[in-house]
Symmetry: C2
Subunit: 241 residues, 2 copies
DNA sequence: GAATGAGGTGTACGCCGTACACCTTCGTCG
DNA sequence: CGACGAAGGTGTACGGCGTACACCTCATTC
């Protein structure tokens, strides 16, 4: 109690307040307009104070992405995978339209954040529950590409042990990678299923290297061109010339 | 001639050498690794020297994009629009794979450069010559989205007079915009045709505002989901499980 | 009431892009 | 021939950035 009067002390600031302020600022000033210094000022605090709550700007961005991705609606129930995927993707779109900077941040980030992986895993799960094969689901995810964001785009999907500690180990490294892999399989079963489908190589290196980007690209391209050709053939037109 | 010996003077550096050096550097150090200072050092010159050849870093990036886009093969001849578009897009892909930084730069740039507009215009032209309606072509371009890069992505395509000069005019502004519009229609006829299709509003504001992003997004999404559903129904599998 | 540790501060470093004034070199023209 | 003007290169400096590091200030706990 005591000296509470003289201070009008601002309440102590925490990771969540920092992230929310950052999101708000990016929403209105854009990605470029977001700096640690500006953000600190807005929070009435010296720049270095932020570093008590986020390790650095990269982690700030990651945290912001987590917040945005958290706004996406949970998956729809029901047997119609087509409807469920559609609804989910459109919900993602709504979230990203609310935060226009977010897509760029998600895509520029080398390693996807957990919330992103959760989302992708769950979309994959919807395809799989709908009865699509692992194979087709894999290609479908690539084809959706940045329409569900983040799964296409060359990024070697997530080699899991990126954040580790000691440099000491030697054979340790492989063990560690395998352990990480196992943890990942538990948490993101569908992603791992898809990533490792087909070839039964050693676990670690397969994750990113296992698929043929060129094939994926042409698959998606042809899907689109086929669709367009079909519409053309049947004289399709959007009502509203 | 005279004192040529003592100097070993480097030949005088020009815009093209600067751009090529920048491309080379970005190719091997990535987008982040490209700084005016670093580039200058590589060219054996003081940073400010670069500014005699490019106005600023933005223009440097634009110039680099022009070079990369220039590597895309010219459009294929022949009556098969599907083949022609496919070939063109795959050629674009090859160019962009050679310069992995380029896609990001193209997409982050607010206003497309002329070479980009040329490319887009010519792809559109291929669809149109194949007999596709303006309407369908429009949606097809959106659906291809970043697969042909740059045409989707909310960016309000190119309001043409962005680089002008004096702030003086008043009614002048509209005239100037119309003139720019006309020039644009001459240079990029297909883009303008598509952008202004349907509604016959006043010229200027129509360019970006004239299309319904949500519709375009759902069009593309459904094209993909339809395709996937069709493949699923017929038990499709990529040979190579 | 001393110890602890979380949260906030101040200073400083090394990057960045680039404005501005200056110097050098060289082709042109009187 | 010599003066000149422009094109190209230099040097210095400014304001911004992210952030390392040492410090201070409290509230909490034993």
């Amino acid at each position: 109690m005591a000296q509470q009067a003289d201070t009008e002390r601002r309440k102590p600031l925490n990771r969540d307040r920092v992230l929310r302020a950052a999101v708000a600022r990016a929403d209105q000033s854009g990605y470029e307009g977001l700096s640690m210094r500006g953000l600190a000022q807005e929070l009435g605090v010296v720049p270095m104070a932020l570093y008590k709550h986020v390790a650095n700007k990269e982690q700030l961005l990651d945290g912001m992405v987590e917040l945005v991705v958290g706004e996406i609606d949970p998956p729809a129930e029901g047997p119609d995978w087509r409807f469920a995927v559609r609804a989910r993707v459109l919900s993602a779109r709504r979230a990203l339209l609310r935060h226009p900077w977010a897509l760029r941040v998600i895509e520029s980030r080398g390693t996807p954040t957990p919330a992103v992986l959760d989302y992708l895993d769950s979309v994959i799960g919807t395809f799989r529950r709908g009865g699509l094969s692992v194979d087709l689901t894999h290609h479908a995810m690539h084809a959706l590409g940045s329409r569900v964001w983040g799964f296409t785009q060359e990024l070697s999907v997530a080699s899991p042990g990126a954040g580790g500690g000691s440099e000491g180990g030697d054979v340790d490294v492989d063990e560690r990678a395998l352990a990480a892999m196992a943890a990942m399989a538990e948490r993101y079963p569908h992603i791992v299923e898809i990533a490792t489908a087909g070839r039964a190589h050693d676990g670690a290196s397969v994750v990113g290297g296992g698929c043929d980007d060129q094939f994926e690209f042409e698959f998606a391209l042809d899907l689109l061109l086929d669709g367009v050709a079909r519409l053309h053939a049947q004289g399709w037109t959007s009502e509203r010339g």
